[in-house]
Amino acid sequence: MKLNKTFGVLLSGVLSIGILAACSSDSGSSSSSSSTTPTNTEPAEGTKVIKIATQSPLSGGSAIIGEAIKLGAQLKLEEEQAKFEELGYTLQLEPYDDQGDPKKGVSNANLIGADEQIYGVIGHYNSGVAIPSSEVYEKYSIAMVSPANTAVEITERGLKTVNRIVGRDDFQGPAGANYAINELGAKKIFVIQDKTAYGTGLADAFIAAAEEAGAEIVGYEGITIGEKDFNGVVNQILNKKPDLVFFGGLYSEGGIIIKQARDKGIDVPFMGGDGMDSSGLVDIAGEAVKNTYITSVAGDSTATESGKKFVEDYKAKFNKDPEGFSVYGYDSMGVFLTGLESAIKANNGELPSKDKVAEAVRAVKDYKGALTDVSFDEKGDNVNAKIFLYKFEEASYPPVQVGEVGQ
């Protein structure tokens, strides 16, 4: 009787694990089979599949932006599909969710590295995730094009595979600081940051530049992300009476700080980085968002002809407005595909090795994207990266562009 029971437990254990495994195997087989290509077309016999992964937070606090990056990349991939079909390749998008968590990012990176068909990664959004994950891509020679990471360390480690099309923090911070001091006449600045890798990096770069330009930093405070009551820090601002408040962090906290500060009668301008560049900021802060400046690596999509076309296509395809980073997902994918195409051509139409693809991506020069031109330097930074300055004059997104700084 006892044995019978043991056997029952054993059998049910094996079965349940089998079922779990069966679910995942389904996914394994269907993602490797080509029946589910994004374009819904059965590839012709004999075409080879090249997969490109995206890694961005599809869940969690930055999900809006993560999703925008993914959709932007998807749009470009589908546009270029036909060109690669002619070369004999089918492109597939493989979206991964890094949840804004370095552990998850690295573990996904290992899955990506293990997949022989994946030749490139578009991602990440959080620098804290991109740094450890890119070490894994380097091991497998998978080219990464970052649409959003501004942390200095991303490209400073001398990795062959890591590229980014956006500006760096030590470029974005000074751009904001110079604008604040020269254009807005700020002399006393209060700095808040959210104690994340992104916020700290941006705030430190801003402070360094602002002090150099002669402004006084009257306060430097950290907040806890996820909270809703920032009155303590706002009271410090009240005390110090600065001419400008700089916030290094994301829109979800930034919006609340702006609102609570305006409620307390603080009407000096606020300034933030690209993390505040989201329609969510307006939703949260409402009318209080007026007189807020943001520096962003993301430019106004509608500034150029190709940008306008992108916005229309995006709306038509996904039935929603693009976010600031959508176009960067789009252009990152474009840069990668340009590199991939030249690698394939250099290899006489045969499938090149991953090394060669990574080299070709690094070698991309004068790519004309929907928004930004891309030429990589030897570190993988885009020499054409620009920083844009925006001002919220009305409580609506997108804000008005008030400045542009090139390198």
Partner: protein, 328 residues
């Protein structure tokens, strides 16, 4: 330095009281359940959060209807408070039925684990619903009671700055006080309140005195959760923006408040909540000032937890609690 601390003191007091009122009412839920079942209802913070979401949903719904714009804001608030409180109250009763009642005689570790489980489930269900309807789980409700009042603190003494108050602050504080007084009356003066205290004192003897213990426990959960839900609405009105993860840390802090005041003691919970709110606000406004920038506002949670640990070590019965000997 002292001067700067004093200047902002009126404003810090106002903000601290707002936060403290929220802590106090949430702490009531913890303290009632603990008093009666000796169980930390970890999911209480999540009930509070659900209340915030349900309340916001009602506000959006009612204000979306054209004719509703005619209703004065205050009456609207009362309607939403009552509706939300009854829904979260029922959620609380359901929780007790499903997750705690079957485990009443299990080792004490087990109900604590279900409580954590329930709070995860609630967080995720709310996230799911919010994301489905809003596209993003960070929800911002309509802004109510946003008129500004200036408290002329400078007229009392020139060392103070004026404090600015949103009308919502008065509403939050007022409603919280009404809720607490009503609860105090209910527990101390009514028949059901007496039954509740009897069950808390000795469950078995109470049942011998023809008190329906299960019913009393259900009522306790209903009232505690209704209060939690109502506080959620107040929180949404005061801060505007909510997400499904506000309940956990806030719940913990409310629990700290309950311990600080003396767990199981209703007046203690109110005192503890107010004190904790004030201390936290004071810490985050002045910590960097007092330590010369070495420790900043980011350490205020450390501050809250340190209070808990100190209280538990040196005065485990709390400020207003009575020391009890352990039953063998």
């Amino acid at each position: 330095m002292l001067q700067e601390v004093l200047q902002s003191l009126p404003q810090v007091l106002v903000d601290g009281l707002t936060l403290g009122a929220v802590y106090a009412v949430v702490a009531l839920g913890y303290t009632m359940v603990y008093g009666i079942l000796q169980l930390i209802n970890f999911a209480h913070g999540e009930v509070f959060m659900s209340g915030a979401f349900i309340g916001t949903a009602f506000f959006i719904l009612i204000m979306g209807m054209g004719w509703a714009a005619e209703i004065p804001q205050f009456i609207l608030l009362i309607i939403v408070l009552v509706l939300t409180a009854s829904i979260t109250g029922l959620v609380g009763v359901g929780l007790e039925r499903v997750a705690y009642r079957p485990l009443r005689n299990a080792p004490r570790l087990i109900p604590l684990i279900t409580a954590i489980g329930i709070s995860f489930i609630l967080q995720d269900v709310v996230r799911f619903i919010a994301e489905l309807f809003n596209g993003n789980y960070i929800v911002t409700g309509p802004s109510l009671f946003s008129e500004q009042i200036t408290l002329k603190a400078s007229s009392i003494s020139s060392i103070f700055f004026d404090a600015r108050i949103k009308t919502s602050f008065l509403i939050v504080l007022g409603v919280a006080i009404v809720l607490m007084v009503a609860l105090d009356y209910f527990v101390n003066k009514t028949k059901w309140g007496t039954a509740m205290r009897a069950v808390a004192l000795d469950r078995e003897t109470a049942s011998l005195m023809s008190i329906n213990v299960n019913k009393v426990i259900s009522i306790t959960f209903f009232i505690g959760s209704a209060l939690g839900g109502a506080t959620g609405v107040l929180f949404a009105v005061q801060y505007g923006t909510i997400d499904p993860y506000i309940g956990f840390i806030l719940g913990l802090k409310a629990f700290i408040a309950a311990v600080l005041g003396g767990i199981g003691n209703i007046r203690g919970a109110m005192l503890g909540g107010m004190l904790l709110g004030l201390m936290e606000m004071f810490a985050s406004a002045n910590l960097s000032l007092l330590t010369g920038g070495v420790f900043g506002a980011e350490y205020k949670d450390v501050f809250a937890f340190a209070i808990l640990i100190l209280v538990l070590i040196f005065k485990p019965e709390g400020l207003l609690g009575k020391p009890t000997a352990e039953k063998v």
